[in-house]
């Protein structure tokens, strides 16, 4: 039987703000344990939360970027449960009136197919501290004799983003995550680094026979620390579930952890604890009224969506998927590229220079393209010079190196140093005549059938013209003269 996987992704994204969600402690990754704490984020008796406006701005912007609706009214709720690294033993979260409603993540696959996945919800909450279990040897809680808690992360603003179960393969899951990551990164609302935990995700995976509309029993996969492990974990889980069903057994609803080393998921909690979180509106925080003017002002700050940019690059500019993705994933480079295209009106040449020569220079020097001495306007000038056959591509490459070194406008350099390409047939013919006269042996070799000396002769002509001769024209003239 053929099976279809049905996958939903739940992400937790730490928002990038100067301070934590409800207090003035710095929101920074790392640091000595318990050095970024205060009465509020330690939940000392009597302390009270005060919401961070920047985090709310981030949420609304993220919502707008995924085309979510922004309601006029929102509030914070308490999610009550006991957990040692959650200082208040409740988490301030959002239950029935989050800051954004709905939304859709559009993403593309490696072959360029556009896909989309609707969002069930995005809401704002606070992160917990981190526990370290000691005495068990392997860091696991089982067998440990005591635990240490670092509250530096407690109270960091956290966005929870839950997708609908509309993803059907490991490839799609990763493409979805990449799209979400680049969207949030470009908004500047998060560092979205899985290795630092500012992006964490779980996957809900089930399978069903192709064509079935009912959902199968799902498992929740945790402990995936990179997009690569997300891919591997989902693939492995789909295969496991198919094997279970094929063996005539039933899938158990459970939480499974991804074991990176053994490449398999392992049952963590077979019996889901029926948690009653006793959500209720947080009486320490007043409800938020969100005005249209506020939303409109934030809307102005939303950059072009990555998927729209992708369509523009691939459909209007003719870039391939890899080139488009490469540009989009480095947003300042994409902006640079857009500026070059706008000024030169030649997307193909802009792509060649930006992803080719300039990127190589950037790699060699360690300076990113968009911070280099080559401004988009100067690069556009260079492209126009090449397009208009004022210079040939060899001169262009040389000029680019000099521009990188800070020599400024290529147009000015060409004019000052008389580097404009020579396309005057008479002048070129004069160079050719001189070169052929000085290289009688090569001429004879050519006429004896050794046509490969042609390249050498063309090179000599180019050299004589100090590179300025139009190479195509030189080629024609040399050939014509040799075959006379």
């Amino acid at each position: 039987m053929q099976y279809e996987a049905v996958i939903g992704i739940e992400c937790h994204v730490e928002l990038k703000t100067a301070t934590k969600m409800f207090c003035g402690c710095p929101n920074e990754f790392g640091g000595e344990p318990n050095t970024k704490v205060c009465p509020v984020c330690l939940a000392l008796p009597g302390s009270l939360p005060v919401p961070n406006r920047a985090a709310i701005d981030h949420m609304v912007r993220a919502g707008l970027a995924v085309e979510a609706a922004i309601p006029t009214f929102s509030k914070f709720d308490r999610k009550n449960y006991f957990y040692p690294d959650m200082p208040k033993d409740y988490q301030i979260s959002q239950f029935d009136m989050p800051l954004t409603q709905g939304g859709v993540v559009k993403y593309w696959l490696e072959d360029g197919t556009m896909k989309s996945c609707r969002l069930t919800r995005i809401h704002l909450e606070e992160d917990t501290g981190k526990s370290t279990h000691a005495g068990s040897g392997d860091g696991r809680i089982s067998g440990s004799t005591y635990s240490l808690i670092d509250f530096n992360r407690a109270g960091v603003p956290l966005m929870e983003c839950v997708s609908e179960p509309e993803i059907h393969s490991a490839d799609e899951a990763v493409a979805y995550l990449e799209s979400l990551r680049r969207t949030l990164q470009q908004l500047g609302v998060s560092d979205v680094k899985m290795e630092e935990g500012s992006l964490r995700c779980d996957a809900n995976v089930s399978i069903r026979p192709v064509g079935a509309s009912e959902l199968g029993t799902k498992t929740e996969i945790k402990n995936m620390n990179s997009f690569r492990s997300v891919h591997r974990a989902i693939q492995s889980e789909i295969a496991r579930q198919i094997a279970v069903v094929e063996a005539g057994e039933r899938i158990v609803q459970e939480t499974r952890g991804w074991d990176e080393i053994n490449g398999t998921t392992i049952s963590m909690r077979s019996k889901e604890q029926a948690h009653d979180y006793r959500y209720f509106p947080d009486p320490d925080l007043v409800p938020m009224e969100i005005t249209a003017a506020y939303v409109d002002a934030l809307r102005e700050t939303i950059p072009e969506a990555p998927w729209k940019r992708f369509l523009r690059y691939t459909q209007s500019y003719g870039l391939n998927v890899l080139q488009a993705t490469q540009l989009i994933d480095t947003q300042p480079l994409a902006s640079y590229f857009d500026a070059v295209v706008a000024a030169s009106d030649n997307a193909q040449q802009a792509t060649n220079f930006v992803l080719g020569d300039l990127s190589r220079l950037a790699n060699e020097s360690g300076t990113p393209v968009w911070l280099s001495a080559v401004s988009p306007e100067h690069l556009a000038e260079l492209i126009v010079l090449v397009d208009g056959k004022t210079i040939n591509s060899k001169i262009a490459k040389e000029l680019l190196v000099r521009m990188w070194a800070g020599e400024g406008s290529p147009k000015a350099l060409v004019e000052r140093e008389g580097l404009a390409q020579t396309s005057d047939p008479a002048a070129i013919e004069a160079f050719v005549v001189d070169v052929l006269a000085a290289n009688e042996k090569s001429v004879n070799d050519y006429r004896a059938g050794k046509t490969n000396v042609m390249g050498f002769l063309v090179g000599q002509v180019m050299k004589a013209s100090r590179g300025k001769a139009d190479p195509a024209l030189v080629n024609d003239v040399v050939k014509k003269k040799l075959e006379q």
Binding site: L44, G46, S47, L48, P49, V50, P84, V286
Partner: protein, 496 residues
């Protein structure tokens, strides 16, 4: 100097600011008096000898430098659910018995900035849950007017301290009547401002949407001075109201001409017995004699106040008190794993009333019961607030009893419900967030009682009408002078 400890806050501030006496001198006398009186009264869980002396020296230094402070040298009792840096802050609970706060509550800090001297941390019902102070896990506090009787609660320690001249200002917190009822029991003025007027930052929460800090004092003027010093917006409390703050001490009137006082139809006092009924009838006539126009108003939903309160307050407390888990601070009783540690810690750390309310609140918020209990209670709360708003369309203030009886004897209210009923007249105002106070309105001798006990008249104003409220209370206090009719029974000889 010998009578200085009996001075009111306004008199003390005048004396210290003018150099008639120093904060240090007064503090010395006060601490000596506290040390003599405390064995009888038990108002404090900790007396801050060094802290008070050091603060007094700094206040004197500031006066010497030419500063004038509105509450210079005024001895202050801080209820033990308010944080004062470096002091034990217990909430009257075993679970926080040895916890020292590393920071200071905003309201406390503002009183210190105004020149107050913190002389002690006052006893209270555990986590402010109770109406007699008997729910304290850490000590017994007695009523200075009859040591066999309770001081009221939950701010019983602060009330007892001010009544026994162990402080001039007591800081209380009022969730359903915890300032007004002990004030009535101890012959004091007890004032609960509009919800949001005084910062809750540093007040250990019982029920966040109801808790409000306010003063207990021997005069209305002192209450006004204390309120003016502690009130106003605080960026550390998101529920603190950010709108212009109206001072009150400079606007106290001596008559009630042009003031319409609402008498609540549903709060008839007949069933409180003929003596109390007559006392309130007299109180209302006295208001009229001062120029007030009495009008009857209706609060038809007020009778649901108690039921509403005993869903909302426990629901919030069940969540607020979750943090006392033995992980980071306070009592920890070890267990085989973290869950057993939680259970043992909370079983040993919380008293029966606190556990009862956590259980009620957890139940009220549980899935399947939430709509029937919590949501309905919130709707009832809205209706009660709307009733008040309607009533205030035809009156400027509402007069009512502060409590249904004078202070009772220890262990007299052994079943929880009879204790809850003590707050019958104060809870509706708390649910509506309104400013309300209790001012002494006469004395009754309870059956079998040794001496006359004070009663309180509760005045309630519309939201933010603190100035009108205190002004009216001041006029009534001046005209009637009930507070001065009796003296506390504690031994004062040694200081006189």
């Amino acid at each position: 100097m010998s009578d200085s400890i009996e001075r009111n806050a306004a008199e003390i501030a005048r004396g210290v600011n003018s150099g008639a006496f120093s904060a240090a001198e007064l503090t010395r006398s006060m601490l000596a008096h506290i040390d003599r009186t405390e064995p009888q009264v038990g108002a404090y869980l900790s007396v801050l000898h060094e802290r008070a002396a050091a603060t007094a020296a700094r206040v004197d230094e500031r006066i010497k430098q030419g500063e004038r402070l509105p509450l210079a040298g005024v001895p202050l009792a801080v209820k033990d659910n308010m944080c004062l840096e470096g002091t034990r802050t217990t909430c009257g609970s075993k679970i926080l018995e040895h916890w020292t706060s590393p920071y200071t509550a905003t309201a406390v800090q503002r009183l210190l900035d105004a020149g107050c001297i913190p002389v002690g941390k006052a006893n209270m019902d555990e986590f402010a849950m109770g109406s007699s102070c008997e729910n304290s896990a850490l000590g017994v506090t007695r009523n200075p007017y009859d040591l066999e009787r309770v001081p009221g609660g939950s701010s019983g320690g602060s009330a007892s301290a001010v009544a026994a001249f162990e402080a001039a200002i007591g800081m209380g917190s009022d969730t359903g009547g915890s300032i007004r009822e002990p004030a009535a029991f101890c012959n004091l003025v007890g004032f609960k401002p509009t919800y949001g007027r005084v910062s809750r930052y540093g007040l250990i929460a019982f029920a966040s949407s109801l808790d409000q800090i306010g003063p207990l004092t021997r005069t209305v003027e002192d209450a006004a001075l204390a309120y003016d010093a502690m009130g106003g917006h605080d960026p550390m409390d998101a529920t603190s109201i950010d709108r212009p703050f109206e001072t009150t001490a400079d606007g106290l009137r001596t008559d009630l001409r042009g003031v319409r006082v609402g008498i609540v139809r549903e709060f008839a006092t007949k069933e409180l017995g003929p003596e109390i009924d007559a006392l309130y009838a007299k109180a209302y006539r006295d208001l009229e004699a001062l120029g007030a126009e009495l009008v009857e108003v209706a609060l038809p939903t007020a009778e649901y106040g108690l039921a509403t309160y005993y869903l909302i307050a426990p629901a919030e407390c069940s969540s607020n008190l979750a943090r006392f888990d033995g992980v980071r601070y306070g009592l920890r009783v070890e267990g085989a794993n973290v869950h057993e540690m939680y259970e043992r810690t909370r079983a040993a750390g919380f008293g029966p009333e606190v556990k009862r309310r956590i259980l009620i609140g957890t139940y009220a918020l549980s899935s399947g019961y939430y709509d029937a209990y919590y949501v309905r209670a919130q709707k009832a709360r809205t209706l009660i607030a709307q009733d008040f708003a309607k009533a205030f369309a035809s009156c400027d203030l509402i007069a009512a009893p502060a409590a249904s009886s004078p202070a009772f004897t220890f262990n007299a209210k052994s079943d929880p419900y009879s204790m809850y009923l003590m707050d019958y007249y104060t809870i509706p105002m708390s649910l509506a967030g309104l400013p309300a106070l209790s001012v002494p309105c006469g004395w009754v001798t309870p059956p079998g009682g040794a001496s006359p006990m004070p009663m309180g008249l509760q005045l309630t104003a519309p939201l933010f009408a603190e100035r009108a409220l205190l002004s009216a209370a001041h006029a009534y206090e001046r005209a009637t002078g009930h507070a001065a009719a009796q003296r506390p029974v504690i031994a004062m000889e040694a200081t006189q």
